[in-house]
């Protein structure tokens, strides 16, 4: 995600790169083990780790600001897919915690991209349907306090050591999506085109047939079919999981409120376009 890219931000981000991951993963890993999405549970882990102290010991104001930006960017990444609902909830709580405990002034904001907006609203809709009022309350508090900047989030990343994303945090459907992305399909199509042209040049079209003619379409169809099957099955699994967690939720919300009237998206369209990136 983005920001105005200054040399200072890049320097700070590179300096803390691996360690900020470790801290966030430890916090969210412990949160994951509780199998809860309650903010109260998150707070206990936060206090136990004394996570507020992550901002301490930075003497210069511009470095405080750069560090907070980096920390918010890291927390934001956990708030989006491909992470599970619980980790994404942890990401939201982490955003809230980092935002409110920061020492920079004026406060560094949370930058939300237009391309992520539909995903965020879908997440909130899921939280609402499952009755997770603390998730909604935390989110609404951030919005009301003007903690959010609405932007295109864009960040030029320079070469850094690669960090392996924690697989236990990721949601299942993401793995096929990662493998069969539009870039991979384009590359396969390009290579196949090259192969066909080579065959024509050597007049071997009728003799050799190492690859299927409509290979890319077949892969795409398989992947979409798999995703649809997974959606059907995972909805029932997720429904069970949410039902289990819901037993600890706050009260019962019977009506879908008008807050989401500004939702202007097609869920199916999002899922397919998310899949094909």
């Amino acid at each position: 995600m983005e920001y105005v890219l200054s040399f200072r931000f890049f320097k700070v981000a590179t300096f803390y790169f691996g360690d900020s991951f470790r801290d966030c993963e430890e916090l969210l890993g412990r949160f994951q083990q509780t199998e809860s999405v309650r903010f109260e549970t998150f707070c206990e882990i936060w206090r136990d780790m004394d996570f507020s102290s992550v901002h301490y010991g930075v003497p210069m104001a511009c470095e405080k600001r750069a560090f907070t930006r980096m920390a918010l960017a890291k927390a934001y990444s956990y708030f989006l897919p491909p992470y599970t609902f619980q980790i994404r909830t942890g990401g939201l709580y982490l955003l809230y915690g980092v935002y409110h405990t920061q020492l920079a002034w004026p406060k560094e904001k949370i930058w939300v991209a237009l391309k992520d907006w539909c995903i965020i609203l879908q997440f909130l809709q899921n939280a609402l349907e499952a009755g997770h009022l603390d998730v909604l309350y935390i989110y609404r508090k951030l919005v009301s306090e003007k903690a959010i900047i609405f932007t295109l989030t864009f960040q030029v990343k320079r070469k850094r050591p690669e960090h392996k994303e924690c697989e236990e945090f990721q949601d299942f459907p993401a793995r096929v999506e990662n493998m069969v992305s539009s870039d991979a399909l384009n590359e396969i199509s390009h290579i196949q085109g090259h192969y066909e042209r080579l065959k024509e040049t050597l007049s071997l079209t009728s003799v050799f047939g190492a690859a299927q003619q409509n290979l890319v379409c077949c892969i795409k169809a398989c992947a979409v079919g798999f995703k649809e099957w997974q959606e059907r099955n995972s909805y029932s699994q997720r429904a069970d999981l949410l039902a289990a967690i819901k037993s600890k939720s706050y009260g019962i919300v019977t009506e879908v409120c008008d807050y989401f009237q500004y939702l202007n998206f097609n869920i199916e369209q999002i899922e397919v376009s998310m899949f094909f990136n």
Binding site: C43, D48, Y56, M60, C62, L80, P106, D134, I149
Partner: protein
């Protein structure tokens, strides 16, 4: 990070090359998408007090009062504190025996700095934060100059031209924020470049007659290049279309056709651009700056809301000024060549040393030399 809903709408910026630049999008349409997606109170500058926020939440989600009170208590910011109220920690130092990996790393840096005899603060760091704070939350005295809610702020990095060899690698730049409703010409006027201040002419015989006119007054033509369109500055009768040469050359080669427009008639809402992609600003005929749009967002309550202050300079690379070869104190104002009195060719002098060395009491030259007015690139510091 997944990208959702992007491909279906061309004005939702998505990456063309991941982590490098986005695809082309229309700025005005991007703004409209956000305004259509958000309730007005979300991007409004007004903030409700806590009680009003809670009342609204309770009404929207049908939350009973006891549950709301419980939520307020549990989700309070105080829940994040791990110290008692009467023992606040010292936030200026890393706590002893830190658990967090970030803190252990920072402690090593802190211990190293404490071991140094002297610790210098970089001048860039000293100025950067100061510059940002100048405009935060500024409101206009006059309501007519207030930036409205829902306005778009674009952030441009204007890279310095390569006037020193090291500028190829350091890539110094200045960062300007502009409003979507402003014209491109306003950005052109706000860009500070030392080539605009050059004074041409040889003045060794008449050092007191240095004219007040600078290159900016003589050569007023300029253009921006964005996505196949040259936006020329045609505000003055002296302005010419300096992009014409490039366009005619491109016609003879295998390039797509370029078009022209006027920068004083084009607002940033009208632009189709990519974020992160290098574009061009050219002035003074051959002074070229790479221009990169780094960010585009809705205006926030804490931003500068005084329209007269835009385009707003939020970051500027400070160039080390070149001092006089004699006193090494004052910034140079003269450059001499073919000068037998100078230790090197060319040589820089401040005004006092230049006159003391090259002229007698009556003001006559005491040796042959050529003298030109020198404007230091750090003049905008």
């Amino acid at each position: 990070m997944a990208e959702g809903g992007g491909r279906s709408n061309p004005n939702v910026p998505v990456y063309e090359y991941v982590d490098i630049n986005t695809q082309v999008f229309h700025v005005g349409s991007f703004r409209q998408l956000w305004l259509d997606s958000l309730p007005p109170d979300v991007y409004s500058f007004e903030e409700l007090d806590e009680e009003a926020q809670d009342a609204k939440f309770s009404e929207e989600f049908g939350v009973p009062a006891e549950t709301l009170a419980e939520l307020r208590a549990i989700c309070s910011v105080d829940s994040l504190k791990s110290y008692p109220d009467d023992e606040p920690p010292d936030t200026s130092v890393v706590p002893p025996d830190p658990q967090l990996a970030c803190l252990r790393l920072r402690k090593r840096k802190q211990d190293y700095k404490n071991s140094l005899a002297k610790d210098y603060t970089g001048r860039h760091d000293a100025y950067t934060n100061e510059m940002e704070l100048q405009s935060v939350g500024r409101k206009p005295a006059d309501a007519d100059n207030a930036v409205p809610e829902g306005e778009i702020v674009l952030t441009f990095n204007i890279v310095y031209p390569v006037i020193f060899y090291r500028f190829k690698y350091v890539r110094p730049h200045q960062t300007l924020q502009v409003l979507g409703s402003q014209k491109l010409a306003e950005l052109r006027d706000a860009i500070c470049c030392v080539s605009d201040l050059q004074v041409f002419g040889e003045f060794s015989s008449v050092p007191d007659a240095v004219p007040q006119f600078v290159s900016k007054d003589h050569y007023k033509s300029a253009f921006f290049y964005f996505e196949g369109v040259f936006y020329n500055d045609m505000r003055y009768p002296e302005c010419r279309d300096i992009s014409q040469t490039t366009r005619e050359w491109a016609k003879t080669r295998d390039f797509p056709a370029f078009t022209v427009a006027k920068m004083e008639e084009t607002t940033f809402y009208d632009l189709k651009v990519k974020i992160g992609y290098p574009y061009l600003y050219c002035h003074q005929g051959d002074c070229e700056h790479v221009v990169i749009l780094t960010d585009i967002r809705l205006i926030h309550r804490d931003d500068c809301r005084d329209r007269k202050l835009y385009p707003l300079l939020t970051y500027k690379h400070r160039v080390v000024t070149r001092k006089c070869s004699v006193c090494h104190l004052y910034i140079s104002r003269w450059i001499t060549t073919n000068d037998s009195l100078a230790p090197m060719d060319p040589c820089l002098f401040c005004d006092q040393c230049f006159r003391l060395l090259h002229y007698d009491k009556e003001g006559n030259k005491i040796a042959p030399f050529k003298a030109y007015s020198y404007v230091d690139p750090g003049a905008f510091n």
